[in-house]
Symmetry: C2
């Protein structure tokens, strides 16, 4: 582990890399409890607490989700798979007259799932564990929704697969602050900065130990940006109670 | 600071409470750099990096945002105010043929803003700083958008105000795992658990040092759930390029 200057929390974050290979060792109950408590300690919008975590412990279910998430073997192999849900159902049970379906509420559910999950992620890495977000669960969101028996007003935003790491991937260079960290107003991306970042990323992609490829950041990103993305999401979300009005 | 058993990272998270009063001391450049690096080290969906941070350093601008965010004085008083944006503009500049406007992309921008911001938040708390998310920036989102000169395909999701703490709020009890942490499928909230949590929360709200009130969690939450929420969000988001198709 590379050492930086400040403290163990920031060191853990700066050394973050997704982990997709795990040993067979189970994650201890003590670690599970600590990671969950860290997750739920994060802020939630207006203290609405509109998130839930579903921990997948049945191996057969985990394997079904792995297939639905685009056949990601590490999802089935990970000792832990947690599904982070936006959940307005609990609030609606407490207050059946809740006025739901607003775009704003959709935003809050997703935002708070992200905030909660990243506490879990940094906490598990601080314990020497490794993991990976699984946005791929949205590939099969209707089926996963059914498998998890999610009621109306609950939907799975993403998964987090984790366990004891059997690989340590190298750090992936982030886009420089010059184009992502602005002051007082939006700053157009500097083409020179982007060009140098692309050169750096081509070297990174060419030389990494697994899935090496001759692309730069832009070329890699284009694959995701040129094609329509999960086109059923609007229908799915509306079916779950978010008209996005 | 309450001490728990595991490590400094998890201790920091378990001791999280929003802070809304700050000393006049500036946050050092070294801390700013460490917090930003921690933020950008978090995972991003498909490595698209569709987030940007706008740091507000002009006091007059900070004060305008504080008013637009529902007259939150601590926003103007905080030495640091960072606005976390979902940003597909940079990718679109790199690849003008990007197929944008999908509900899925809206979700990813929000989720990744939350993930990135929570690393920043835990990092700043690990440095002894305190802060508070400012979802209230969406109260005046159109005006704040204009003040920050945000192009199409960029919108401000929330702010993070922080600095050296001049208060240490007590910990706010979270809803128990019995209703938020499930196994393999959705579990209906147990009314008995909710009742006990409400009793606990009434005691918490009654006894806290500032803004004490005689409500329980459900009663407090109802205020947010019974009324339409930021009804202009759909029009705003669509105007920024997200048809949410």
């Amino acid at each position: 582990m590379e050492k930086y200057s400040r403290n163990p929390t920031i060191d853990t974050m700066l050394n973050h890399a997704s982990c997709r290979k795990f040993t067979d060792e189970k994650v201890s109950d003590e670690d599970i409890a600590a990671i969950f408590r860290a997750a739920q300690s994060a802020s939630t919008s207006c203290f609405l607490q509109v998130t839930s975590i579903i921990r997948i412990t049945e191996q057969a279910l985990k394997e079904k989700i792995a297939v639905l998430a685009g056949n990601q073997k590490h999802v089935a192999q990970a000792p832990e798979l947690w599904i982070f849900c936006a959940d307005y159902h609990r609030n609606q049970v407490e207050f059946p007259e809740s006025d739901l379906g607003w775009n704003e509420q959709f935003l809050v559910g997703i935002q708070d799932a992200g905030i909660m999950a990243q506490n879990a992620f940094a906490a598990l890495e601080s314990l020497g564990l490794g993991g990976c977000y699984i946005g791929g669960i949205r590939n099969g969101i209707q089926e996963i929704d059914r498998l998890l028996a999610l009621p109306k007003n609950v939907f799975p935003v993403f998964g987090l697969a984790f366990g004891h790491p059997a690989e340590h991937a190298g750090l992936k260079p982030r886009m420089p602050a010059a184009v992502t960290f602005m002051e007082n107003s939006y700053r157009e991306p500097d083409p020179e900065v982007m060009k140098r970042y692309n050169e750096l990323m081509r070297k990174y992609y060419e030389s990494r130990s697994s899935n090496a490829k001759n692309v730069d950041w832009t070329e890699n990103m284009i694959g995701y940006m040129k094609k329509e993305r999960r086109t059923y999401m609007k229908d799915y979300v509306q079916g779950k109670g978010w008209d996005l009005k």
